[in-house]
Amino acid sequence: MSTPQEIVFVVDDDPRVREALKELLESFGWRGKTFAAAAGYAAYPKPDLPASLNLDVQLPDINGLEFQKELRRGAD
């Protein structure tokens, strides 16, 4: 099995949810990278690959919606 090129980032504070989403992504042949908080995702060195981000709303460090705005601002 070749290493999946596509990667999906998951940020959720509930471990049962992170665990389940990661399992679901991998069952589809995608690579799943999970984070318990937005800070962990932000600090993660992201490879230059096609990727998507699944972001929970209630997060321990920051609101998921707000974090999405920050990401957008950072992309601009």
């Binding site: 949810v17 389940a20 069952s27």
Partner: protein, 1167 residues
């Protein structure tokens, strides 16, 4: 002279004429043949001789030359010998002889002959003449006789005669003078110095030379006669007094031709003894007087003649001596002598007896002089006195000399009598004949006492012990005529014997016979005493040298031993120093080789030789070999003795036996080492201070400990003590130690203190320091000896122990229980403070008596039974019962007691604990009630809030279940299906579904309770109840609850269960917020206080993660917890607000968050 041969007169006319001439001259002529016999003699000779004319040789009948008869017998032999000599040699003949004239008278003739030779040189004929020289000869003989006479005169006069040139140079000494001087006039000539000066320098006494030069040069210059007395040096070196005179002889023109001198030996005269001189003077006076003072008187005594000298000397004439009445006048006689003189005269003139008188005669020039007059009568044949002839002799000098002599004799006598010596004389046979006065004074004996009755000498003055020896010595001297010397003890008149020395010498006359013995005896007692003392001292010194316990030896300047004292000899077992000698080496080297330890010999020899060579003293310690073969240490010192010029005369060497000391020193050193080791090894710090406290010794351990020695602390500007203390004592202790030490130094009391010393590594360690003074005999402190013992570990142990003791004591007293100890007989031996406070201060527990009063009556019987059984059996006691407090209140107690057993199992003590469980008992009851009500508290929350919370709590597991289900489906759908992963996801689905069911069950439980009515309650009490309720949970999480509850808070009307629910929620939130806190403690602060006048406030503060956003904290579904429904704070707020209060949250400044709510004092029902 021989008769001449007859020559024929008619040989020839010429010859005849010659013959006539020869025969005419008044000279005898002759010829002779080679044998010496006359061939011709002139006629006048023959006539003179009265010989026959015809044959002159006939005269010599049987004679050698024929002239023996005519030549004087005294001359013949000489003349004949000469003639024979000339005949043999051909020398000219010349001789003088007397020839007998025909009348028998001999006259002197001189003969002269010369040989005539033939053609062969042989003597053919002798021709000669003989001349009458008799008158010449006579004159010559007369002259010679006179010359001889004069020469004899000059040489024989008992004086030196001499002649000087006009300039004074001696040109003649007579024989006597030559003999005297031992040389003739020219013998001492030297160039560059005049003969006179040489003579003066070599023969004139140095004291007289200058005078002689002066007088002589004056005479030579003026021509005046020379007269001087001086001492002249005889050939044998003796100077003799000479009376010298000289007069010049002048030429007709008046110039001085020569000086003639005479030098008369007057030495004997001058040096003659007094008697001789006196007699000589007397004689001289007599000689001088006799021709001068001559006088005559008539038979009647009238002066009739005085010689001219009398008049000259006395100034009187005969007339003056005749009185006007015609009698004699004695005006010339000294008045004192006149009468006696007159009477003497009268008597002599009367009797005709010779007159002799001494008187003083007045002189014309003044003073009287003593005169002796003698007169004798001249008698005619019939015996009548014709005239008196008198002579007066000036005896003044004699009398004066006599007086002088008398005085001198007296002085001598005095001298002899007063000199501090006994002077004595004996006859040649040794019989005492004179003793001076002192002899009598000293010995008390007179001359008579020294002559024994039999006329021999008596030695009774000599000590009996010395008498025989002295007698024999004297006898020997007297017999042999040798000098006598003797020492003996002389008996003194004043008692004790005294040592004297006698000496005697004989006086001999010219023929050598002993005339008398002269002796002198001198007191030498003091001398002898001194000598004896000296001898004693010498003996003592000798003994000292031999007996002093040192070895003394003397060496030559080169270092060769010459003397060993007896002790040294004995030490070495030597008989004599020379016994050390060995062939081929110096005695020093031999002695060292023999007597010195082999290990020391080389160095000693080297040192000694260097020292001797340099003249420097040396000292050395080495081992000497004793006679018994053992070596002993000696300390040897050598020093040179120098004479005045600094040269070394002797070396003196002294050796002191220091063997015992050396061994003692060694022992001492060993002991010292041992002690030093001891001092260094003892596990303490030892030190020593001087009386002022200056450290002057640290033992090794001290140095190791401090890292420095005593002197290393010296610092400028402060004493060593201060510097040392400052450096080594802990700053907190320094002042105390310094003060204590100074106090000790002042009072002399021992020092003892505990303080901290700084170790070399900087660590302070506790030591116990002690010091005591050491005092000398007079009690003065010499040193302080100190010791510091490291007690640091002990101190720390002690401190720890004390700490533990304090802690235990505190523990015992502070634990909120009753602790007690009871002896096996039931007597209480210990109760803790808590128990005392409980029962009251004056309570004394005695089980038998007190137990009735403190145990609740309902419990008493059981307690007594059970405790009594335990005391008996040793079983552990454990019961719950009520005890009566001092205020009369009974409280529930949980009592326990256990016995402590010894190794044999016997009970030593009972230890008991009695725990107050009254509150617990009550709280358990309350909690039971609270738990019942708590469930109902959630009924107060609104349904909507609950729904939201429930939805959030349930949705999460549902979302997970959905995702897992999709994944599981997928894992099973792919080809081939991943069963492994499918199983895992399926298990997760089950798990999450159960979790969701739990949530639902919990929510259902909340809603089962009904609301309670509100009642006033104490919020503080309520907080304590909740804490106790949650104690297990709190402890399990490592949380410490810290409460700060304001006292006297008013009661609040609240729904007790709901508020308890709020508190439980907030505490649990706080606890869970601090789950992530790893470092440090996890305190949870709960605080109550008034909030304004109408409310109270409760704060719960944690140090957990805090809120990211406080506004969301109360929203449904909001939770910071990993496992929670997020509805806690929302419910709590609704409960608080229902009680008219508020609830809010805030993050702390440092860490964590605080949740605060208020409750209104007059709370109405919730709106």
């Amino acid at each position: 002279m021989t008769t001449a041969p007859n020559v024929p007169a008619d040989t020839n006319p010429k010859a005849a004429r010659a013959l006539r001439i020869i025969e005419s001259v008044p000279t005898f002529a002759w010829s002779a043949d080679s044998s010496g016999r006359f061939t011709y003699v002139s006629p006048n000779a023959l006539t003179y001789l009265g010989a026959p004319q015809e044959d002159p040789n006939l005269l010599a009948d049987g004679d050698e030359f024929g002239w023996r008869q005519v030549v004087h017998p005294d001359d013949y032999k000489r003349v004949a010998q000469r003639w024979r000599h000339c005949l043999q040699t051909g020398d000219d003949y010349d001789a003088e002889q007397r020839l007998r004239r025909t009348d028998g008278v001999y006259r002197w003739f001189r003969s002269f002959g010369r040989p005539s030779r033939d053609s062969h040189g042989r003597i053919s004929e002798w021709y000669g003449t003989t001349i009458d020289i008799d008158e010449q000869k006579q004159a010559e003989a007369a002259l010679r006789a006179r010359e001889l006479e004069l020469s004899q005169l000059v040489d024989m006069v008992p004086s030196h005669l001499w002649r000087l040139a006009p300039d004074g140079e001696p040109i003649f000494f007579n024989k006597r003078m030559v003999d005297f001087l031992g040389r003739d006039v020219a013998d001492a000539d030297k160039p560059g110095i005049s003969r006179l000066e040489m003579l003066i320098q070599t023969t004139i006494h140095p004291d007289d030379a200058a005078t002689l030069r002066e007088v002589l040069s004056n005479c030579l210059a003026t021509g005046e006669g020379f007269a001087l007395r001086y001492r002249l040096r005889r050939a044998d070196g003796v100077y003799r007094w000479m009376s010298s005179r000289a007069e010049p002889m002048r030429n007709p023109d008046g110039t001085i031709a020569q000086w003639y001198g005479l030098c008369h030996d007057i030495d004997d005269q001058i040096h003659a003894d007094e008697a001789l001189r006196r007699s000589e003077r007397q004689l001289q006076q007599l000689i001088d007087t006799v021709p001068a003072f001559i006088w005559c008187t008539t038979p009647e005594g009238i002066p009739c003649y005085l010689n001219k000298r009398v008049t000259e000397v006395t100034g009187v004439t005969v007339k003056d001596l005749i009185a006007p009445d015609g009698s004699r006048s004695l005006t010339v006689v000294h008045p004192d002598d006149r009468d006696a003189m007159d009477k003497a005269f009268a008597r002599s003139f009367e009797t005709g007896a010779p007159f002799a008188w001494r008187y003083r005669q007045r002189r014309s020039n003044g003073p009287h002089r003593w005169v002796e007059s003698r007169a004798e009568p001249l008698r005619d044949d019939s015996g009548n006195i014709i005239q008196w002839y008198g002579v007066s002799v000036d005896i003044h000098d004699l009398v004066t000399v006599q007086e002088t002599l008398l005085a001198r004799e007296r002085q001598l006598q005095q001298l002899i009598d007063t000199v501090p010596a006994v002077i004595w004389c004996t006859t040649p046979e040794g019989i005492p004949c004179y003793l001076n006065k002192r002899a009598t004074d000293v010995t008390g004996l007179t001359l008579k006492d020294l002559i024994a009755p039999d006329g021999s000498r008596s030695l009774r003055v000599v000590h009996p012990d010395d008498r025989d020896a002295i007698d024999q010595a004297l006898a020997r001297s007297f017999k042999a005529g040798t000098s006598f010397v003797g020492r003996y003890r002389q008996l003194r008149a004043d008692g004790p014997h005294r040592w004297v020395e006698s000496r005697a010498e004989p006086l001999r006359d010219d023929s050598g016979n002993i005339v008398q013995w002269y002796g002198v005896t001198v007191d030498i007692h003091d001398l002898v005493t001194v000598q004896e003392a000296l001898r004693d001292r010498e003996r003592e010194l000798s003994q000292l040298v031999n007996m002093v316990p040192v070895h003394i030896r003397r060496l030559t300047p080169q270092g060769e031993p010459t003397f060993f004292n007896k002790r040294l000899m004995d030490f070495f077992g030597l008989g004599d120093v020379v016994d050390l000698d060995k062939p081929g080496m110096s005695r020093l080297a031999a002695a060292i080789q023999t007597l010195v330890h082999p290990d020391d010999a080389a160095s000693l020899l080297g040192t000694a030789r260097r020292s001797f060579a340099a003249g420097e003293p040396f000292s050395m310690k080495y081992r000497m070999r004793r006679a018994d073969g053992t070596y002993r240490w000696v300390d040897t010192r050598a020093e040179p003795l120098r004479n005045q010029s600094g040269a070394i005369v002797q070396w003196y060497v002294v050796s002191l036996d220091i063997d015992d000391e050396v061994r003692a020193q060694e022992a001492l050193r060993e002991r010292e080492q041992e002690l030093s080791q001891l001092v260094d090894m003892v596990p303490s710090l030892l030190w020593r201070l001087n009386p002022d406290g200056e450290p002057n010794y640290f033992n090794k351990r001290t140095i190791d400990f401090l890292g420095l020695d005593a002197a290393d602390y010296d610092q400028p500007g402060m004493s060593r003590m201060a510097a040392t203390l400052a450096a080594i004592i802990h700053p907190d202790d320094a002042a105390g130690v310094t003060e204590a030490l100074n106090h000790c130094f002042v009072t002399g009391k021992p020092f003892s203190m505990t303080y901290r010393l700084r170790r070399a590594d900087g660590v302070y360690r506790w030591v116990s320091g002690r010091a005591e003074p050491m005092r000398d005999e007079s009690g003065h402190i010499i040193q302080w000896y100190g010791l510091a013992h490291d007690i640091d570990d002990q101190m720390h142990a002690e401190e720890a122990l004390r700490e533990r003791e304090r802690e235990l004591s505190l523990l015992v007293d502070m634990i909120p229980s009753h602790l007690w100890r009871v002896a096996p007989d039931g007597e209480t031996t210990l109760v803790n403070r808590h128990m005392v406070e409980f029962f009251g201060e004056d309570w004394k527990m005695k089980w038998d008596t007190a137990i009735d009063t403190i145990v609740h009556p309902d419990d008493l019987k059981e307690v007594l039974d059970e405790f009594g059984r335990c005391l008996r059996t040793g079983d552990c006691f454990s019961m719950q019962y009520r005890l009566r407090r001092v205020d009369g209140v009974y409280r529930w107690m949980s009592g326990r007691a256990e016995p402590m057993l010894d190794e044999n199992g016997r009970i030593l003590q009972w230890f008991g604990l009695c725990h107050d469980i009254d509150d617990q008992v009550h709280a358990e009851e309350a909690l039971r009630r609270a738990s019942d009500k708590l469930a109902r508290a959630t009924q107060a929350a609104s349904l909507a809030e609950l729904s939201a919370s429930i939805a959030h709590e349930v949705n999460q597991p549902l979302a997970a279940i959905v995702a897992n289900s999709d994944a599981c489906h997928r894992w099973l759908s792919i080809e081939p299906p991943n069963l492994e992963r499918a199983k895992i996801t399926a298990a997760r689905i089950t798990r999450d579904a159960n979790s969701a069911a739990d949530v639902v069950n919990r929510i259902r439980a909340l809603f089962r309770r009904v609301p309670q009515s509100r009642s006033p309650d104490d919020i503080n009490l309520m907080i304590r109840e909740v804490c106790r309720l949650m104690a297990d949970e709190i402890a399990a999480r490592g949380i410490s609850i810290e409460t700060n509850l304001e006292q006297e808070l008013p009661s609040v009307a609240i729904d007790r269960v709901q508020v308890q629910q709020v508190l439980v929620n907030l505490i649990r939130n706080g606890i869970e917020a601090m789950d992530a806190v790893i470092d440090g403690g996890r305190p949870l602060h709960i605080r109550t206080c008034r909030d304004g006048v109408d409310a109270i406030r409760v704060e719960v503060r944690d140090v957990g993660t805090g809120f990211k956003n406080s506004d969301h904290a109360f929203e449904p579904f909001f939770t910071t917890k990993q496992h929670g429904m997020g509805m806690g704070l929302a419910i709590c707020r609704s409960i608080v607000e229902a009680h008219g209060g508020r609830l809010w949250t805030a993050n702390n400044e440092t860490r964590g968050a605080t949740v605060t709510f208020t409750l209104a004092l007059a709370a109405g029902d919730a709106p």
